[in-house]
Symmetry: C2
Subunit: 492 residues, 2 copies
């Protein structure tokens, strides 16, 4: 297999597709639109899950599990939500196969096993969860409910891309229930901050925190908060959403509680989720033409050690030193892989681990044995240096922190360079076509203008930033008065 | 809600159903046959997952994820497997809903969105995984592949019971690929031992390790290994299976590799799985008429502390002592919950934590403050003792180990008491009806006899134990010669 990737400059989209496959992250499956997440890719997802799961638990949430299927009658109960997802629903209509009488050894769907009510494969779980919460909530003493679920969901997609848009994807979905509107809004905002914290401190990916316009809102939400990241090609990526659902689901499923005064009230709701789409965001935030670049906090292994040797005797000498260094690094919580396979040459291994984005590579050969040194290469800058073996663990621990920080700073600098304030529609279009990135512009606040701009330029309003600066101006499209700039971009 | 359970003696089945619901482990959902796993139940499942996942990784396996759906043409490729699962398959036939023209606000399945090929919701993933492995395997250098997947699967069931038999359940499924038959069999056996280790050392549940008869074998396997546990009512429960799949899936999906001599050979396969069914096994192994009894290693929290106080001032004094004890215990890796809620009385809390099976309860009141003592109660024996606060953490650490061991010994003693060797069919039937449990009897080795015995007594051959003692005898049913006793029981 050729390890050569397309370059980002030549074809960003091909570069991404090739990188995902060649770095062994994921591949297309025999099922249209569904992906196979390969072990190396899944190991990164597991790191993400562990970090997020801890953050959810630290903020008082517990995990639970709800059914994969939603009966159609429940699915359609919250009409806005149902309409929003209706066009993307995989539907189970039968529960049995039988032998094909005309084709020995083959099976057909048994027409006698038709379900009386169709089951929707969950595209999201508000309906099944709120129909369950109804049985759990009688009084204010039963609130809040702070539940998260790790699950697979299905949204039928015609045009799919690995991680970014697939018919089945893995995600977590939080579903909380509250006494008051204020408490539910505070929860919605809290989880947005958790997502931003994760994106910035684990993924090394700066994000804008903001609110979606009505057009871009989650179907069934009163307000959708989001974090938006900017990829290297200047396109935005929605990395996580946190929804204030008002009393919409409580009303659809008749979920009331007796408040402290004994009065019946509808319960207030939130939901929030991030998905394997974050894998796409991670890849596109940091990687380069040589392959994946991983932030140390999410790398399946942070250091790889490659021996450069002639003969078994020298390998044994090198291995002795390596085991000592490995142990010292592991004692500091650093994950280390020693690749002493004898069927691949060092150069092949170097290219392989560059492709896979391992943050630090250590090579050790005959001369290093004599000198008590190693050659260390960092993946983010590709810089090499020669270091003493003694105390290598402290140096590497420090370096991993530097790499984590450097990736964040680099991504932040890119975002800043690709954020442009414009005052005219001409300028707006020219930035979108040329420089790309986030474009800050005045907008008259109407869905109509937003739709027109999207039709003409493919740009959408990514968000209205939290605590957005208020300033008077005129809408770039309609010329009507505006009180603030919003963030436009073309998006994934 | 009444906390009173049915007793095991009066109605074992009702006792189980009530316990699962009242201890907040799981409940039935709005989807026929599917369950909701509630937070407390899910926390136990998470503990199981963590322990098993580590054991899989320690034995060289990695996780990955494959699609939920299997196209019908792939599903039916391995015919024995397909036939075995055909009657339990949920089938997706459409990918879109649309507004019902005759019923405003309602949805119908869009007849224009019929799939050209139906998708089966995976009942198990051999088909989709082996169709993927075909692309991964060219030479012996690509082997072995040692992959595990954590996933949900669906097997349509008409008669369901929470955890024990549900249409959707959570599980892990290992799928490995090997160069040689011997290596695949060694893997099959290795994973059986991993399961037995987990059952005995984490769940405190003794298991028999053995091989299934052809009748009870996994559809598509050449050999099915299993671990079998005995529940308190004398019925057996299959707790895990490990399958040697021969070259059946390799042949069905044409997966060949070039061996070291450059010759093309079919790949050898195994698969192995345990599921949320283990939750049912755990519950039925140890629990009593007061509720759940959890082995400390799988308890979401191992110790609960309940303050018994008059007034806020005394609560503050007690809390100060509790925080000190809690910290000391947590430093030893013990998980502790302090329940200082003021809206429930101590007696209510005691009953609640007995129902939920918390291994150790510590109560502390006014007199304890004066004496520097606490009252400690262990859930397994319900014994209470008064202990000094100082050094409580060492005492509790020791006690948790004792409880873990005691639960295992108690379950083992029950199994031994309920294992009977019989030589006649009359005796066989009488034990099954009266004493119940495992019955060791000679069998002529034919499926015909096995089926007849099942029809007449509902007992099945649970397994032929590994390293089974060979002895000549005559089949209890047919009188034909037999070389060994096998293990019969009625089963879940």
């Amino acid at each position: 297999m050729s390890k050569e990737l397309s370059t980002r400059a030549a074809n960003y989209s091909e570069w991404y597709n090739e990188l995902v496959e060649k770095a062994d992250l994921a591949q297309h499956s025999a099922v249209k639109g569904c992906m196979v997440i390969k072990p190396y890719g899944y190991a990164i997802w597991e790191k993400m899950q562990q970090a997020l799961d801890k953050m959810f638990k630290d903020t008082g949430h517990v995990n639970a599990y709800f059914p994969l299927f939603v009966p159609k009658s429940l699915f359609e109960a919250e009409e806005t939500n149902a309409e929003g997802f209706a066009k993307e629903c995989a539907v189970v209509t039968h529960y049995r196969l039988k032998s094909d009488p005309n084709n020995k050894g083959k099976l057909i769907v048994d027409p006698d096993a038709k379900l009386t009510e169709e089951l929707i494969v969950r595209p999201t779980s508000e309906a099944i969860i709120w129909s369950t919460y109804k049985g759990w909530i009688q009084s204010y003493r039963d609130l809040p409910i702070l539940i998260n679920q790790w699950a697979n969901v299905v949204r039928w997609e015609m045009r799919t891309r690995l991680f970014l848009r697939t018919a089945e994807f893995l995600w977590q979905e939080g579903h909380t229930a509250h006494e008051t509107k204020a408490e539910a809004i505070a929860e919605t905002e809290k989880m947005l901050h958790v997502y931003a914290d994760f994106a910035e401190n684990w993924m090394a990916m700066p994000v804008l925190k903001g609110i979606k316009t009505a057009n871009e809102r989650f179907a069934g939400a009163d307000e959708t908060y989001c974090i938006e990241a900017l990829m290297q090609d200047g396109k935005a990526l929605q990395a996580g959403t946190s929804h204030f659902l008002g009393q919409n689901f409580a009303k659809a499923f008749d979920v009331k509680f007796a408040n402290k005064e004994g009065k019946q009230e509808y319960v207030w709701a939130t939901s929030w989720g991030v998905s394997t789409r974050l894998m796409g965001a991670l890849i596109m935030s940091h990687s380069d033409d040589k392959g994946l670049v991983l932030p140390p906090k999410l790398a399946p292994f942070q250091v790889v050690i490659v021996p450069i040797y002639k003969g078994e005797e020298q390998l044994a000498q090198i291995s002795e030193v390596v085991f000592r260094m490995k142990k010292a690094m592991e004692a500091k919580g650093i994950s280390v892989k020693y690749d002493d396979r004898d069927n691949q040459r060092p150069g092949w291994k170097f290219a392989e681990y560059e492709l896979k984005g391992v943050p630090v590579r250590i090579a050790i050969g005959g001369r290093d044995l004599e000198n008590g040194t190693v050659e260390l290469a960092r993946r983010d800058t590709m810089e090499k240096e020669t270091l003493q073996q003694a105390g290598i663990e402290d140096k590497v621990a420090q370096l991993l922190e530097q790499i984590q920080d450097n990736l964040y700073q680099k991504a932040l600098a890119l975002r800043e360079a690709k954020t442009t304030t414009v005052d005219t529609y001409e300028e707006f279009k020219s930035v979108l076509e040329g420089k790309t990135g986030f474009v800050l512009a005045h907008w008259d606040g109407t869905s109509e203008t937003e739709k027109k701009i999207k039709e003409e330029t493919k740009a959408t309003i990514r968000c209205i930033p939290l605590n957005n600066k208020q300033e008077t101006g005129t809408c770039i499209y309609s010329g009507k008065p505006s009180t603030q700039r919003v963030v436009f971009a073309k998006a994934y």
